[in-house]
Symmetry: C2
Subunit: 199 residues, 2 copies
């Protein structure tokens, strides 16, 4: 093969489009897949395609879901008056892994970013407002990322919801558990000091 073997090269090129899979890794994976039993490759291929096809957005919160409503919204025990607002479904998965939060979610599918021309109409803020008008909500927890866009989005939503008489909270900033003060940036340290508590 003066050039690559075509089906392997095609497979590697497709794998190379995934995040964190460079050219070399893609090639290595493609060679591995080619050496796998036919049945296993079928499962892999089918899981990818069926998985993508089966997923839609929960009609209530916008989380990924296999049905009309995601399993959180469909669970009556989770309707406790709390709504946690996040940027995307991955963040829902992260918070669920914590196994502690027992309320609902609202997925914005983006954050405000005037630089990229993303305004309040482009993310699911209107859907959040209409949920507050129909659902019993006692607290909106703003859990967007602790970066510029995330902070701006959290402030915007807080200002929007305050007049509606809903309590808005923001997740705490501080030193990560297991982190090292010496290597913590100044802004995080400042936030950690500001957020200090009686022990």
């Amino acid at each position: 093969m003066s050039e690559q073997i075509e089906p392997i090269a095609t497979m590697a090129a497709e794998l190379n489009r995934l995040p964190g899979i460079g050219k070399k890794t893609a090639q290595r994976l493609a060679y591995f897949i080619v050496s796998m039993p036919l049945e296993d490759v079928r499962s892999l291929s089918v899981a990818i395609w069926n998985g993508r096809k089966a997923i839609r957005f929960c009609s209530v919160c916008g989380n990924y879901s296999a049905g009309e409503q995601c399993s959180v919204c469909a669970d009556p025990a989770r309707h406790n008056g709390q709504i946690c607002v996040v940027r995307d479904p991955r963040d829902v998965a992260a918070i669920e892994r914590m196994h502690d939060y027992r309320g609902l979610y609202h997925v914005l599918h983006g954050t405000l970013s005037p630089m990229d021309g993303i305004g309040p109409e482009d993310i699911h803020i209107r859907e959040l407002v209409s949920r507050l008008q129909t659902e019993q909500v006692s607290e909106v927890i703003l859990a967007t990322n602790p970066d510029v866009e995330g902070e701006a989005t959290a402030s915007y939503i807080a200002r929007l919801l305050k007049p509606m008489g809903v309590r808005c909270t923001r997740i705490a900033h501080g030193v990560p558990v297991g982190g090292d003060l010496e290597y913590t940036d100044e802004v995080t340290l400042l936030k950690a000091m500001e957020g200090r508590r009686e022990v």
Copy 2:
């Protein structure tokens, strides 16, 4: 989702079976794939399945091939009397990337490993011997890995082929280009000294 969203979990579990893809990476990839356009996921899934299905072993050398013979064996210009013996098709790809070798290959699909019960009958040594009886071969280059099994396999084949009057060579051991003497192990250094050449 008190538990994972099922189609995403299935996808992540399948991806997790690939080498170098841990649980977290698999989850991250699955979430990314779910967010990809449907058409792109179809291409990915089809490339994996079709790629695997299209690949068979070259009837001559045992390399991966899309047809009856691989592109090296099918190329008359490569029949120059040299056969490079490697462990698996990945090694063929590595040597081809060098863009220098112009001979043929023979893929053993394994190396001798008495500990694992892999003897000469379990890898494609017999096929190599019969090629020597039908093809015009002037040199067999033993390019198995420089590890215990690779060395043992190379010695075994060399002893087997010598009586047939075929010239057997072994790829050189030495200090890797760009490497550092200080961090080179003693055995490699010894081989590098033994293999020194007039400059």
